[in-house]
């Protein structure tokens, strides 16, 4: 201490307020951010450089391929072979454009496309209704989406001559339509079925529990592709006599069973989160088991597991691509088949087709996952508010 003994008291009293000051330069602002986050140590600098290098290696070629050098119009492969100027060609969007109808509708008859479009529109409406948090009457929305819409979709897509809609056999369906049909059928069946299984797994009746657990663990233990192959080859054997399920129906059954098992586990998570007091409250009011389940437990449990359901759906949506392996013309397969079209055989055709598929799946899945994260955040804050309020 340089200054010595002015007052001999241990006491100190601040007389002048030290006002807040701006931080010294280089401790805040964008430069500080840079220093702090990118350049704080030699290792960090190296990482930054490596990261930038990776960006440099990946991004410009991707942009060049997808946009700058891409061919947007053309009638056949000549458009996408090495360009007139002798430059290498990027993505052949002309190919995608010319096959787009096939990718979306498959071989669905031309005059009947409005039916598919109507189904798309109804589906979109239902999704918005259910997922948009401020939409009114969610209960009606659910009835519409899980009850009316599937029936309407089947009638529209498959046809019903009695009301003037000619049959369109499922072998003509294809592309995005089939992808959506498979994914949607999976979710529509798996939700109620998964709920039942989850309830069964928590039942106090040992046999019910055993059956549920066996069912769930069986489907969760085997790969989807084996389920699909099984549905394809064995389902007809298990049905009586000449009953031969439609080709598209078989994977649907497989997917639905498979998805139910996963859904059951998701729902079970929600059921477990319901405090015991809810059951007791309901019991003390005289509600019976099914009333309690339907009116008190499930509404809460399902709300909690919406993110989980969405995640299951994302997985299901991606997994629909596997039906292409058993010969169903989903988006994946229409693309695969189109790649073999000699009229469009160029070095970039495959890459373009895959890029298109990747973009399609990515946009759908990423969108859904963002939604589920947002939902999760909302749920988390919702719970917190409730707790502090108490």
């Amino acid at each position: 201490m340089t200054t010595s003994g002015k007052t001999a008291s241990a006491a100190y009293l601040r007389t002048t307020v030290a006002p807040p000051e701006r931080p010294p330069p280089l401790t805040s602002g964008p430069l500080a951010w840079l220093r702090e986050n990118l350049l704080s140590s030699p290792l960090n600098v190296a990482l930054t450089l490596a990261g930038l290098y990776i960006v440099y290696v990946l991004v410009p070629p991707a942009v060049r391929f997808l946009l700058v050098d891409a061919v947007w119009t053309g009638e056949d492969r000549n458009a996408c072979l090495v360009s007139a100027a002798g430059q290498p060609v990027g993505a052949c969007w002309a190919f995608v454009a010319s096959r787009l109808r096939y990718f979306v509708y498959g071989a669905y008859p031309d005059g009947q496309l409005w039916r598919v479009n109507l189904v798309f529109a109804l589906c979109a409406a239902g999704i918005v209704w259910l997922l948009w948090t401020r939409a009114p009457r969610k209960d009606l929305g659910a009835i519409f989406f899980f009850g009316l819409f599937p029936v309407a979709a089947v009638v529209l897509l498959y046809g019903w001559p009695a009301i003037g809609l000619p049959h369109v056999h499922t072998s003509l369906w294809g592309g995005v339509v089939v992808t959506l049909v498979v994914a949607f059928a999976g979710i529509v069946v798996s939700l109620p079925f998964g709920v039942l299984l989850a309830l069964g797994r928590r039942s106090r009746l040992p046999l019910v529990r055993l059956v549920s657990v066996t069912f769930i663990e069986f489907w969760r233990g085997v790969p989807l592709i084996t389920v699909l192959i099984m549905a394809n080859t064995m389902l007809p054997l298990f049905l009586p006599g000449n009953m031969s399920p439609d080709k598209l129906l078989r994977p649907l059954v497989g997917v639905a069973l498979f998805a139910s098992a996963y859904m059951a586990e998701v729902v079970r998570g929600g059921l477990q989160a319901i405090p015991k007091g809810q059951f007791e409250g309901a019991a003390s009011l005289g509600l019976n088991y099914w009333q309690t389940t339907r009116l008190v437990v499930l509404p809460q449990a399902l709300r909690i597991v919406i993110p989980g359901i969405v995640n299951t759906f994302i997985g299901l949506f991606k997994d629909t691509s596997l039906v292409s392996i058993v010969g169903i013309f989903d988006l994946m397969r229409t693309i695969e088949v189109s790649l073999a079209d000699p009229r469009w055989a160029t070095p970039v055709t495959a890459a373009s087709g895959y890029a298109f598929a990747a973009i399609f799946y990515f946009v759908c899945c990423f969108g859904m996952s963002r939604y589920s994260i947002a939902m999760e955040k909302r749920l988390a804050t919702g719970h917190k508010r409730q707790e502090t309020d108490r």
């Binding site: 498959g106 669905y108 031969s244 010969g327």
Partner: protein
């Protein structure tokens, strides 16, 4: 089965999901091809309308189950007639509508003359077909080492061959010509001369309905007989007036042979009027009028040095 089909009003015909020349569907779902034509012939015989067919695309794996289960009434899909298939799968096959054999396609730049030079080559092949077994047999018999690369679908196998994964691609020779068209540069590939197997293609129906089996059999036979007798799409109506007793029997002017297969007497007329005779079907889908330009080879009439020989109608 015939009653079912009539009642349903449409024939369910199992077909290859995409093999140029034999069965291809365009973007709109319109099917064309050699096998397709025979499906249409059956439909024409029954309904007098070749459009009353629904084509059910089947992979190599699930085609037999589809017949067994009754999902399709008949399978006309470059299916090889083998004893085991005929006897132990609950199926009936025949008669042959195309005599084929398994061959190899390789890059011309390799300069190969024979499949026996494929020592150490890798060969792309489709899974679950006789092809896979023939391949193994051939290399085993000739004591040559090779590396099989097996794919679930022909599309995949061809794609892999095209991209250089394999030195050779093997399948039925007819399909080789068809698949060659799908390659990026078809001219740079040659089909090797060896035919390593007998592959008689025949329609497949279920065991147990002999009348239906007969119907399918004689539909094929009718086209062959028609060619032999010079009855064509164009002249079939004229030929009705023909004096040739064989022609008259074929076209139902004399006798009623349709009765035995549950069809009216003019069943063959319907077939020829709508789809043509064997030669016309071949020419339009595989031969000179098609991009494949396959030589008829064995599939010439017996009178022309081939082995195509249909039992007479009498």
């Amino acid at each position: 089965t015939l009653d079912q089909v009539k009642q349903r009003g449409v024939l369910h015909c199992g077909s290859n999901p995409g093999l140029a020349g034999f069965a291809v569907a365009d973007d709109k779902g319109q099917w064309t091809g050699f096998d397709v034509a025979f499906c249409r012939a059956v439909a024409a015989a029954i309904f007098d309308d070749p459009a009353k067919v629904r084509f059910i695309p089947l992979t190599a794996k699930d085609r037999f189950t589809a017949v067994q289960s009754g999902e399709v009434d008949v399978l006309i899909r470059n299916t090889t007639w083998t004893m085991s298939r005929d006897t132990s799968l609950g199926l009936n096959l025949g008669p042959v509508n195309y005599y084929d054999g398994q061959g190899f396609i390789v890059r011309s730049s390799l300069g190969l003359k024979s499949a026996k030079e494929l020592e150490g080559a890798s060969v792309c092949v489709q899974q679950g077909t006789t092809t896979e077994l023939n391949l193994a047999d051939f290399f085993r018999a000739n004591n040559i080492k090779y590396e099989p690369v097996t794919y679930a679908s022909a599309v995949e196998a061809v794609k892999a061959y095209d991209s250089g994964r394999c030195d050779a691609f093997t399948t039925d020779a007819s399909a080789l010509y068809a698949e060659r068209l799908r390659l990026t540069a078809p001219d740079e590939h040659v089909v090797l001369p060896e035919i390593i197997s007998k592959e008689p293609f025949a329609p497949v129906v279920r065991h147990g309905d002999d009348q239906w089996f007969d119907l399918v059999q004689w539909t094929v036979n009718a086209t062959i007989n028609a060619e032999e007798l010079g009855v064509t799409k164009a002249n079939v109506d004229e030929q009705l007036k023909s004096e040739n007793p064989e022609v008259r029997r074929l076209l139902g002017v004399e006798g009623n042979f349709g009765e035995g297969i549950g069809l009216p007497a003019d069943w063959a007329v319907r077939i020829i009027r709508h789809v043509g005779n064997y030669g016309e079907i071949f020419a339009a889908n595989l031969g000179p009028d098609s991009p494949l330009k396959i030589d008829r080879g064995l599939n010439r009439l017996w009178t022309n040095g081939g082995i195509l020989y249909a039992p007479p109608i009498r």
